[in-house]
């Protein structure tokens, strides 16, 4: 192994470090094959110097002492690649942001810089270089759930050239949109809108639709999933590279929270939509009770405001909306709220739950409005209550978040991804969405899936977990602790035994498994225990 150390003075911006002392210090190490200094190694002259040295001194490890900015790292990795080295051979020691710029005292900054350099050199000595590896992946996609999100995702994927299997557990596609009488701000009736989309699905050669079908088992990992489907008790097995779950939500009346049953005068939002679809008569006074169980969603507000306006316009009856907190964040919701106020819909805010009693065909509601500072009584022919939104289908393999919706991968960085690489969410099962949001979401997710699979192969992360088969005691701790379900149990032919096995594409390289393994049988390729311990010891001793 031949190591080269390059000391960068960063154009004079690292000025409270004694470079002479640093240089002497580095010269005191024996196994270093070249030491060079420059004002700026990231500029052309400096780059050429590194290149020349790598080639002349046949270096295979490069240590750069200076900054460790991400963009600079790219530059240096590029140089290594040009010289035929793996970018993994690079070690950067940051004596700028992590030393010179934060410590005033020159003597102490220099002492600390020495330690950082020592740690960097020991890191570099223990570096292992792994071959880059591509794994071929199946380019076909399974979309589960034929609501608007599933339909749109399939259409987008098909447009991009992917072969899609779209499965829907009901006999027909359409999902919840089929049960709506109209969609706010959409000219088409939901039925017409859906038939247009379904027609496109039927015309597409890339999409195979299976209705009355549900997945029963998902096996495998990103790129190579095997899914068992159940179509009216017939079992079908398909192989796909990625899965989009767009299974929507189930809307259920919260009998327990409300404490009374549904009846002719108490109906849910979806039942109200049905009254509209069937063209049934809407009574004189109608009251929407929102947020009663503190589980309200924006979509309930959308639905209440939209239908309140509709009733007001068509039937000219008296419409009340009772709410705890008005939730109007989102597409056109604020506007809808303003419109509802203008058109004379009566809003009452409440903090303590309203008292509700029934008298013949009337519902009596008594509510204290903290804004009016007074108790109000309403007699209504119809009370519209909310449904609770919960996941439509359970997949044992995937966790749920605190709202009971599907757990996402880190929501800030990777929305739409599950904790299993290759399984994505789209539409309402992930986050409460209106139709427009569901459409955009579905297209975005389809784009993401396409991007992942389009090359037909995926490059394996260089930093990942590997199992040393002989050491594995098969205690299963790693399997349980991996947040990405990337580890399974497998029979190794060569060793003639079972051991833990990490899926190369699913592993994200966090290292949790390796720190939990009691046998020390799992190591992260770029953070082996020995490396970390030696590096840490170097940091602590002169």
């Amino acid at each position: 192994m031949k190591k080269g150390v390059f000391i960068c003075k960063c154009g004079g911006s690292i000025n409270n470090i004694d470079f002479q002392a640093i240089s002497n210090y580095i010269h005191s190490f024996n196994q270093i094959d070249c030491i060079k200094e420059s004002q700026a190694f990231c500029l052309p002259e400096g780059k050429d110097l590194i290149k020349g040295e790598i080639i002349d001194s046949t270096l295979d490890r490069v240590i750069i002492i200076g900054c460790s900015l991400e963009e600079k790292r790219k530059i240096f990795e590029g140089i290594l690649k040009e010289c035929g080295l793996s970018p993994q051979a690079l070690t950067m020691v940051n004596i700028r942001e992590r030393c010179a710029w934060v410590h005033q005292d020159k003597r102490r900054a220099t002492e600390k810089a020495k330690r950082l350099i020592k740690a960097g050199i020991s890191h570099s000595s223990l570096l292992k270089i792994f071959e880059e590896e591509d794994i071929s992946v199946n380019k076909n996609v399974l979309v589960v759930g034929g609501g608007i999100a599933g339909i749109e995702a399939s259409l987008e994927l098909s447009r991009l050239g992917c072969k899609v299997t779209l499965v829907e557990k009901e006999p027909e596609l359409g999902g919840k949109v089929k049960r709506l009488a109209n969609i706010y701000e959409m000219k088409l009736k939901p039925g017409e809108f859906l038939s247009k989309k379904i027609k496109l699905i039927k015309e597409s050669e890339n999409i195979k639709v299976l209705t009355s079908t549900e997945p029963i088992k998902i096996e495998g990992n990103l790129g190579n999933f095997t899914v068992k489907l159940n179509k009216l008790s017939e079992e079908i097995t398909i192989k796909v590279g990625a899965i989009i779950l767009s299974v929507g939500c189930q809307a259920k009346f919260m009998r327990k929270d409300y404490g009374f049953d549904l009846s002719r005068s108490v109906i849910t939002h979806l039942q109200l939509e049905k009254l509209f679809i069937n063209g049934e008569e809407i009574p004189q006074t109608i009251c929407f009770l929102l947020d009663f169980a503190n589980k309200s969603s924006r979509i309930s507000f959308l639905s209440a405001l939209k239908n309140a306006l509709l009733i007001k316009e068509k039937v000219a009856s008296e419409v009340f909306i009772l709410y705890r907190q008005m939730q109007v964040s989102g597409y056109h919701l604020e506007k809808l709220y303003g419109e509802a106020r203008e058109k004379g819909i009566i809003f009452f805010k409440y903090e303590d739950s309203p008292e509700i009693s029934f008298e013949h065909s009337l519902v009596n509601i008594s509510v204290f409005d903290p804004l009016l500072k007074k108790r109000v009584g309403i007699s209504s022919h119809l009370l519209v209550v909310e449904e609770e939104i919960m996941p439509m289908s359970e997949f044992k393999e995937l966790g749920l978040d605190s709202k009971g919706l599907y757990q996402e991968e880190n929501i800030w960085l990777y929305p739409a991804e599950s904790n299993r690489r290759g399984i994505f969410f789209a539409g309402e099962c992930r986050e409460q969405e209106d139709v427009f949001e569901a459409l955009t979401d579905a297209r975005a997710v389809a784009g993401k899936v396409y991007n992942l699979l389009r090359r037909g192969k995926i490059t394996v992360n260089l930093n990942r977990a590997v199992v040393e088969v002989e050491k594995c005691a098969l205690c299963l701790n790693c399997i349980r602790s991996c947040p990405y379900e990337a580890i399974g149990k497998e029979f190794y032919k060569d060793e003639d035994r079972y051991a833990a096995k990490v899926d190369k594409l699913s592993c994200q390289g966090c290292g949790i498994c390796s720190s939990i393994c009691p046998a020390g049988a799992i190591q992260l390729t770029q953070y082996e225990n020995e490396q970390i311990i030696t590096e840490c010891a170097s940091l602590l001793t002169d």
Binding site: R108, N410, C510, L524, C536
Partner: protein, 131 residues
């Protein structure tokens, strides 16, 4: 001369961004602090922590992302457990468990990183050399 404690901070790759931003903004912190970067705080193990003390650290910290915001979903929760368990071991062998502490941060909180660094250095200075 005043006692200068040796302190190692095991920091997840995202929280080191906070440290680097502190550097870029020239926000000073004690030179006693030395960073060990891990991919995730969940990579921390008892052995790293104990070895750090054995090699001469007077204080050790683990910094991971805020709970619920771990880039690897629950690495920081695991780190918390490992730290708590190691604290017990330290107590058993007669080392003040205050010498080991876990903090949570986000990659943008460079000020907080500086504050933690100062706080821990003061604390360990107070406790004195470990051996």
């Amino acid at each position: 001369m005043e006692f200068e404690p040796e302190i190692v901070i095991f920091c997840c790759q995202y929280c080191t961004e906070a440290a680097d931003t502190a550097g870029a903004s020239h926000l000073g912190y004690p030179a006693n602090i030395k960073l060990m970067e891990l991919p995730c705080s969940g990579k921390i193990s008892i052995i790293y922590l104990l070895k750090a003390f054995e090699e001469g650290a007077d204080g050790v910290c683990v910094i991971g992302c805020e709970e619920g915001a771990c880039h690897f979903l629950r690495g920081n929760l695991r780190a918390k457990k490992v730290v708590e368990y190691t604290q017990k071991i330290l107590e058993e062998i007669g080392i003040n468990k205050e010498r080991l502490k876990m903090f949570n941060l986000s990659s943008l909180e460079s000020q907080k990183f500086v504050q933690i660094s100062k706080e821990i250095t003061e604390k360990i200075r107070e406790l004195g050399p470990i051996f």
